[in-house]
């Protein structure tokens, strides 16, 4: 039964979005989400994008284990009524679950039953163009829920009722600036950034006051000529230089630094932007109080391969190469596993290991981590068709890795054996509201190639769930799949990894020690959602959204086209929640 608001209140809500309230009894108590809880999250809840500020994707919950996971069964499911990429983690606070859908809808559910508590629908402009129709979740802070919308607004909602508290424009949707990330909440601020690496955005991270929505600071990822790094851009090219932000940053409360991954430089061809193009394809460390850039590491200077490095590094205090350090670890789209060291005023390079085939780098400097390129592998004017590995989607795109402190292993959802072939670029000129890429559609969507050819010699596997021992720098184990893998990871104290990502609709549990598949179940669509786990009334649940779309779908279409086949993956979002059978 819908409990309708009073007409005036409803009219007021219609102006900036709509929430519907359900009469279903809500979980009794909504404990405020504090800095202390976010810094030291209790295992029973999943309060933020990756479970903790460090980005581990880990829960200490251990009632579901590698010994009993075979008894996992569906507890409840809930269809969102939306299509396209359902990538948001189900985020849980004391029985309240929040998921987002493409179009930046927020749905609050009873985590134990799936009963809808309320739903927020952002009223989107009819003219809106969605290049990446997805949303990657909410942030919880205090008594509010925050969502970053595809029309580039930041919205604060009352966590218990869904009432809109405030809506703040972040950037210009008419320029195709859009947000798909879960906001990062820390120290009274809500931090977001804009996508638009293919539409000529000048990337930024912006912080807003959690209570009022007032903008506290905005830091561009592409510096102006008079700023440090500004000399890495010729002329006015920085103004539409890319460096987009489309994945939640990680955060170290001790240093008060938030670590963000940045996207590709724009446009893709390099002819008009000679130089390193700081701080694109980088990790940057921002002071949360001021937004000041306190350190950076650039993975692929003067990128020509669309190797965004948008996943924030995972913050792990561990031993690397025989030395204990505050590490920042990142499986790069460029196919290297990067191990960096966090310091108060800089980020130091430690090591880089190739985890999928990369034939562009001829060397990586042992001191700085700067790669040297085989320039024959750089697409460009007058060069004809150019082949390179890994593909435009890289060894790992946005799906997050996971770190399990019990196994000491760092898990990577990789795509190996895929390369690309790109023709010469097309002349590109920035035009507000249009794509700014520099290649034709046929070039991008038809770029995928199997390493070694798409005939009998083609590799038989693409997707790889890899486990790396950071102490030794060695691959501990790998589980390979015949299809590609677009799989955000969850690992638990039950010695498990949960992941979907393949185009056969499966959601799986793996033994975290050896990669063995212990359980799998088909879902209504394909799974590219971020899995989570939580407890209600002492019972452990595992949750994930099924809902195929966006770049997993693009990669699938490319491989199907390459192999002359069609692999249907049905559309439609469903929240899937599992528990052990009695």
């Amino acid at each position: 039964m819908i409990a309708l608001r009073k007409p005036l209140a409803t009219a007021a809500l219609m102006a900036c979005g709509l929430s519907t309230l359900m009469a279903t009894a809500a979980p009794a108590n909504y404990p405020p989400v504090t800095d202390a809880r976010l810094s030291n999250p209790e295992p029973a809840n999943w309060l933020q994008y990756r479970g903790n500020y460090a980005g581990w994707g880990y829960s200490a919950l251990d009632k579901i284990t590698n010994n009993n996971v075979g008894k996992l069964q569906l507890a409840w499911a809930y269809t969102t009524g939306q299509v396209d990429g359902h990538q948001a983690p189900p985020i849980v606070n004391n029985g309240y679950m929040y998921v987002t859908t493409p179009g930046a809808q927020v749905i609050a559910l009873d985590a134990a039953t799936g009963a809808e508590l309320w739903r927020y629908k952002k009223e989107l402009p009819a003219e809106l163009m969605q290049l990446h129709p997805t949303n990657r979740g909410v942030a919880l802070y205090g008594d509010k829920v925050y969502v970053a919308t595809v029309d580039c607004n930041l919205v604060a909602l009352d966590a218990k009722t869904g009432k809109v508290i405030w809506t703040k424009p972040v950037s210009d949707w008419k320029a195709i600036h859009y947000m798909t990330l879960a906001p990062l909440a820390a120290k009274g601020k809500i931090m977001v950034g804009s996508s638009g690496g293919e539409t000529g955005v000048r990337g930024f991270v912006a912080a807003f006051d959690a209570e009022t929505g007032a903008e506290a600071w905005r830091t561009y990822t592409v510096p102006a000529p008079n700023e440090p790094g500004g000399d890495t851009w010729p002329g006015d090219s920085y103004k539409n230089g890319g460096g987009s932000i489309w994945i939640t940053g990680t955060y170290d409360p001790a240093s008060n630094l938030a670590y963000w991954g940045t996207g590709n430089p724009s446009p893709w061809p390099t002819e008009g932007r000679k130089g390193d193009n700081l701080y694109t394809t980088s990790t940057i460390a921002l002071d949360v109080d001021t937004g000041k850039i306190r350190g950076h590491h650039q993975y692929t200077p003067n990128d020509a391969w669309d190797w965004d490095e948008v996943s924030a590094p995972v913050l792990i205090d561990t031993e690397v190469k025989g030395r204990k350090m505050k590490a920042a670890v990142h499986a790069g789209r460029n196919g290297y596993l990067w191990m960096l060291e966090r310091k108060d005023d800089k980020i130091d390079f430690v090591d880089a290991i190739s985890y999928v085939n990369n034939n562009v780098f001829t060397a990586v400097d042992k001191t700085t981590g700067r790669p040297t390129y085989d320039e024959s592998k750089r697409p460009g004017m007058g060069k004809g068709n150019v082949s390179f590995c890994p593909s435009l989607w890289g060894g790992k795109d946005w799906p997050p890795e996971a770190w399990n402190p019990n196994t000491g292993l760092f898990y990577v959802p990789a795509n190996n054996n895929l390369c690309a072939e790109m023709p010469e670029p097309e002349p590109s000129k920035y035009k507000k509201g249009d794509l700014y890429i520099g290649y034709s559609i046929g070039a991008v969507l038809g770029s995928l190639r199997y390493q070694g050819g798409n005939d009998a010699k083609a590799p038989k596997t693409i997707g790889e769930l890899q486990a790396w021992d950071l102490k030794t720098g060695k691959l501990a184990w790998v589980q390979k799949f015949p299809t590609f893998m677009w799989a955000p990871l969850l690992t638990t104290g039950g010695n498990l990894i949960f992941a979907g990502g393949t185009n056969d609709r499966m959601f799986r549990a793996f033994d975290a020690s050896n990669g063995k598949i212990l359980w799998e179940a088909p879902t209504p669509s394909g799974v590219t959602g971020v899995p989570t786990t939580f407890e209600v009334n002492g019972e452990q649940y595992v949750a994930v959204q099924s809902g195929w779309g966006v770049d997993a779908q693009r990669m699938g279409s490319g491989i199907d086209s390459l192999m002359g086949k069609t692999t249907p993956v049905p559309q439609g979002g469903t929240v899937m929640v599992y528990k052990l059978s009695k």
């Binding site: 396209d84 009819a126 003219e127 163009m129 794509l435 779908q553 279409s557």
Partner: protein, 197 residues
């Protein structure tokens, strides 16, 4: 980009429509059930659209209304309606974007041919999936394809969806000729734009 070249043999581009050709075409299209009334707030009032000419969205200098002979076969051009009297380009909303493409009339279904003029077809340039510009013609597949998510539309068959996530056809807009110039003859066959939830 447009270039002048010899019209395609099957397009009949040199034909000059009689004065009442536009009215007859509208009636014929309505009889086919293709011109549903729209009443869109964002789409210019129909009275001001019918009869509008078409100019390139990126035209530099004075807008030049397009003729079939300005279009190369199989090369789409994105245009906006243009009021010749007031010389106003109707670009106040991107939902007004139209993709023009010249294709062999013999390849069109009869219903689609009825919408064409001089071998030129006009469709909304806004994908019905998520609103991206759709303006790339893949001749091998006879499909207009959306860059964003690869929805493919059969322009030779009323804009029907061939494949991809779009669930409804690309709206067409009927054309006629006024002298050598292309002119809008009626409303979109469906609401242009994405199907937002």
């Amino acid at each position: 980009m447009t270039t002048s070249e010899t019209p395609h043999a099957t397009c009949g581009c040199s034909h000059t429509s009689p004065a009442d050709a536009q009215r007859r075409r509208v009636i014929r299209i309505a009889a086919l059930g293709l011109a549903a009334p729209l009443g869109l707030a964002t789409w210019p009032a129909q009275a001001s659209v019918v009869g509008a000419r078409l100019v390139e969205e990126d035209a530099e200098g004075k807008p030049m209304p397009l003729r079939p002979s300005d279009l190369r076969v199989g090369k789409p051009v994105v245009v906006f309606p243009f009021d010749a009297k007031t010389e106003a380009m109707r670009d106040e909303t991107r939902l007004n974007k139209i993709v023009l493409i010249r294709l062999p009339e013999a390849d069109m279904t009869p219903e689609t041919r009825a919408l064409s003029a001089g071998g030129v077809l006009a469709y909304s340039a806004i994908c019905t999936h998520q609103g991206c510009d759709v303006k790339t013609w893949m001749d091998k597949e006879k499909a207009l394809v959306c860059y964003c998510h690869s929805s493919k539309f059969a322009l030779l068959d009323r804009g029907n969806v061939i494949s991809g996530p779009a669930s409804r056809p690309l709206p067409a807009i009927p054309l006629t000729l006024d002298g050598d110039h292309l002119v809008i003859a009626g409303a979109f066959t469906a609401t242009p734009g994405a199907s937002l939830a």
